[in-house]
């Protein structure tokens, strides 16, 4: 169970990206985070693995306070939280397999990383994850030689290497065309349903939310404006989330 309690983030420039946000995520849930761009979705997800330090509030995971964890504890927590990104964030010049193996870094002794060594089991595991997302034959290519959809699958494989219990996905399909979007989303769904991984996924399109999410939270200018089931987003709610001028399409 992940509990977000009164989370507030004020950036150095004074922008209040999150404003007293609280909600719970039970284990195994597929949670969609929606909102206009700039509403604070990325900030919220990055506070959970503390890529961004929250200004106030708490994040409790199975009772442990992530926001109070020391550096060493943070390493242990982060390796159980996978993350995929809108722009994939692969290391371009490295091979696909190296990018995937990087998902194990939280487990590897840094002294071994100094000589770029991974255990044999990890390498086998990396191949398995690449097979799972269907691009095992690309293992030895450079990451930037892959298409966008393929790169995102590498990103998913990297996150899977962590044996995650939570998966954070920050607009994972926003840079892909709609056909590919479903393929990526179905991988996340598979991870959620079959591996029991809790998924927090920020999304742009409501049809994807309806299709994949168990529950939705909506942000507007850093405030939580909706928390509920996807089917409960009626026209009134929609306008509240996306603003008075927004028009519902599709």
């Amino acid at each position: 169970m992940l509990q977000i309690k009164n989370l507030t983030k004020i950036y150095d420039g004074g922008v209040k990206a999150l404003d007293n946000v609280s909600f719970d995520v039970p284990d195994g849930q597929f949670l969609a985070v929606i909102g206009l761009s700039g509403s604070g979705k990325s900030t919220l997800l990055r506070c959970i693995n503390r890529l961004i330090e929250p200004t106030e509030g708490q994040i409790l995971w199975n009772g442990e306070d992530i926001t109070a964890a020391s550096q060493e504890e943070m390493r242990r927590i982060r390796r159980k939280i996978g993350m995929v990104f809108q722009h994939f964030n692969l290391v371009h010049r490295s091979k696909v397999i190296t990018n995937v193996l990087a998902g194990r870094l939280g487990y590897i002794n840094p002294a071994w990383s100094l000589i770029n060594r991974f255990p044999k089991e990890d390498i086998e595991k990396a191949i398995k994850q690449l097979e799972r997302v269907g691009i095992a034959e690309k293992a030895n290519q450079r990451a930037d030689e892959l298409s966008g959809g393929q790169q995102q699958r590498v990103g998913i494989a990297r996150a899977l290497m962590q044996d995650p219990q939570i998966m954070l996905a920050d607009e994972p399909v926003a840079s892909l065309d709609p056909v590919l979007a479903h393929s990526i989303m179905s991988h996340l769904e598979d991870i959620n349903k079959n591996d029991g991984v809790t998924v927090l996924c920020s999304l742009h399109f409501l049809d994807l939310v309806h299709r994949y999410a168990d529950k939705v939270v909506a942000l507007n200018e850093g405030k939580l404006v909706f928390e509920g089931l996807p089917k409960d987003i009626d026209d009134e709610k929609f306008k509240e989330i996306y603003g008075r001028d927004a028009e519902r399409v599709g």
Partner: protein, 612 residues
């Protein structure tokens, strides 16, 4: 922008003033740079210019064995009263001979000199030899004879005004090259020095690159701005550096003495070098398991730290043994390898370098280790201890740390300037440091994280910028004074300049990497070191290689002139020859420089294309 150019008196005056000012600046420039075309036109200048250019055009690289054919013709000027002394030369011979017509003449007359039976197509001077000694080296006048394909020539020459009753001579010397061309002594010297030059550049580049890489991470804002620590941790790790270095230095010196005492023959050397690394590897593998899923117990942690320490000590012992083996082998090889003795010399020097560097490396390693251990201890205490306890700790540790830094700076100043007043170099800094530390400890909140990374970044950048503004040649002068004339001084100077300029260029590359991959690697739980290795390094390899190549080019160029100030390399030879007005030799050296520079330029451009 408004484009209305209204004619205005003030504008015109401004233009006029500006033109006047420009002319003034130019005029002043001409005066201070001593532009003087008169000097260029003077005959003396032009003559020496031509002479130098001609010498430069014939670099002294090859020479031939030469044979000379010398014929002296007895000649009277004026004609003697007794004409019978005029001998007709023997013309029924295969030896070279000359005929002068007329056979005697008044001083100042023009005579015809004909030569026969010389080697075809050779050249040489025809000269008048005053006095009655045919072997006299003093000669007058000079005409150039050039034989045809039959070996004959004809020249006319003016008889100098040296009347004598005695016989005098007209001498012809024709020279020709025989055999294959061979290298001159100058060419050999130039070769030696150009090799020295290339290696000087190579060594400086390697040294500079190796040290610039870690510096470039410290001098990169994007990496350093996330480095934040609570005050307790900063103070402890600051104290840890010198303490660790001291302990490390003493421990390693003890290991060195132990090694010297025990390893007095090659067998012990070899045994230590072959067996101990296996032991160390085994120990380290146990102490640093590749993957760790559960947190180890406290006693396990201590056992591991103990093993790692022991391995480190053993490792340094192996270093000393390696050095001793290399020096011993080097000495033997140098004596027995003959012309490959330089390999032995190299081995010996490598051993010596290892022996000298090991205690310093050990000290640095121990300093870094103790500092990071204490830093982590500080981090943990400020996370766990109650606030009053942290506050007390800070109040003790911070003044101590800052006072220590200040005292160290004071002692460096004392060493440099010999003030001899402990008030300025010991007690004063200590008091000021302690005061500042106290102030800092009182002002910061106990659990607050301070941006220590940014501080280190700024200090590093400032030092780099200051050093970068010093020319490599100036550094060379300083090093020549410090370590004496020779290529070592040049290597150090170029190396230092390489470090500071590459660190700057490299760090700019680090600052321009994509933040996305960095964030993604951090999100996996990777620590700082792992993030650098897996997210930063792959992104900076191509620019690093291309900057290193670029620096290599510069270093080759610089190393050719660093000898002008005594830094070794070919510059020294070049300067010497120019000063001795030996322009043909200088020309050979300039040619060598041109060839090496363009060759290196070509090689590096090919490499750059390949890797980038």
């Amino acid at each position: 922008m408004n484009n209305n150019k209204k004619p205005s008196l003030w504008n015109s005056i401004k233009v006029g003033l500006l033109t006047f000012l420009t002319l003034m600046i130019f005029a002043y420039g001409f005066q201070v740079t001593k532009v003087n075309l008169e000097e260029l036109r003077s005959e003396r200048r032009q003559e020496s210019f031509v002479r130098i250019m001609r010498a430069l055009a014939r670099p002294e690289i090859f020479e031939y064995e030469q044979v000379e054919e010398v014929v002296n013709y007895p000649f009277y000027t004026p004609c003697p009263p007794d004409q019978s002394v005029l001998l007709a030369p023997d013309i029924n011979t295969l030896e070279p001979y000359i005929i002068v017509t007329p056979a005697c003449a008044e001083p100042g007359a023009i005579v015809q000199v004909e030569g026969f039976n010389f080697a075809p197509n050779t050249t040489g001077p025809v000269r008048f030899v005053p006095g009655n000694d045919p072997s006299n080296v003093v000669t007058l006048g000079r005409e150039n004879a050039k034989t045809d394909i039959n070996g004959d020539f004809t020249v006319s020459m003016e008889i100098p005004k040296r009347p004598s009753d005695d016989v005098q001579y007209i001498r012809v010397i024709l020279r020709r090259n025989v055999g294959a061309p061979h290298f001159t002594q100058t060419a050999h010297d130039t070769w030696d020095k150009i090799i020295e030059t290339v290696f000087l550049a190579l060594l400086a580049t390697v040294l500079g690159t190796i040290l610039a890489i870690p510096l470039s991470f410290i001098a990169a804002r994007n990496l350093m701005k996330t480095v934040k620590s609570p005050l307790t941790s900063i103070a402890l790790s600051t104290l840890g550096w010198p303490l660790g270095m001291l302990i490390g230095f003493i421990a390693i010196r003890w290991v060195g003495n132990f090694s010297a005492a025990i390893g007095s023959n090659i067998l012990v050397n070899l045994a230590s070098i072959l067996i101990l690394p296996l032991l160390i590897q085994f120990g380290l593998r146990w102490a640093m398991p590749q993957v760790e899923t559960t947190t180890p117990s406290q006693s396990m942690k201590f056992a591991r730290i103990g093993i790692i320490l022991l391995s480190a000590l053993l490792g340094f012992y192996v270093f000393f043994q390696l050095a001793s083996l290399a020096m011993r082998l080097g000495n033997t090889l140098q004596a027995s390898l003959g012309s490959f003795g330089f390999l032995g010399f190299f081995l010996f020097q490598m051993g010596d370098i290892i022996a000298i560097l090991t205690p310093s490396i050990g000290a640095l390693a121990a300093g870094g280790t103790l500092s990071s251990i204490l830093g982590r201890l500080g981090q943990q205490s400020s996370e766990r201890l109650p606030i009053p306890a942290i506050k007390t700790l800070n109040l003790i540790l911070t003044p101590a740390a800052i006072a220590m830094v200040f005292v160290l700076i004071g002692q460096v100043l004392e060493w440099l300037y010999e003030f001899d007043t402990p008030l300025y170099t010991l007690w004063g800094p200590m008091a000021i440091g302690a005061g500042l530390g106290l102030l800092l400890a009182v002002m910061t909140k106990p659990k607050e994280s301070l941006p220590i990374g940014l501080l280190i970044y700024s200090v590093t950048r400032t030092i780099l910028n200051a050093l970068r503004s010093v020319e490599a040649l100036v550094m060379a002068i300083v090093f020549v004074i410090a370590v004496g004339i020779g290529p070592f001084a040049g290597t150090l100077a170029l190396g230092l300049h390489t470090i500071v300029s590459l660190a700057k260029l490299y760090s700019e590359q680090v600052e321009s990497i994509l933040a996305g991959p960095l964030e993604a690697i951090q999100a996996t739980g990777a620590n700082r070191l792992q993030t650098i290795i897996y997210a930063v390094v792959p992104q900076i390899v191509p620019p690093y290689i291309s900057y290193t190549m670029y620096r290599w080019d510069i270093n080759v160029r610089m190393s050719t002139i660093i000898g002008f100030v005594g830094g070794g390399g070919i510059g020294f030879l070049l300067q010497q020859n120019i000063n001795l007005l030996n322009y043909r030799a200088a020309s050979a050296q300039m040619l060598a420089i041109a060839i090496v520079v363009s060759l290196m330029d070509y090689i590096s451009s090919v490499l750059r294309e390949k890797v980038v």
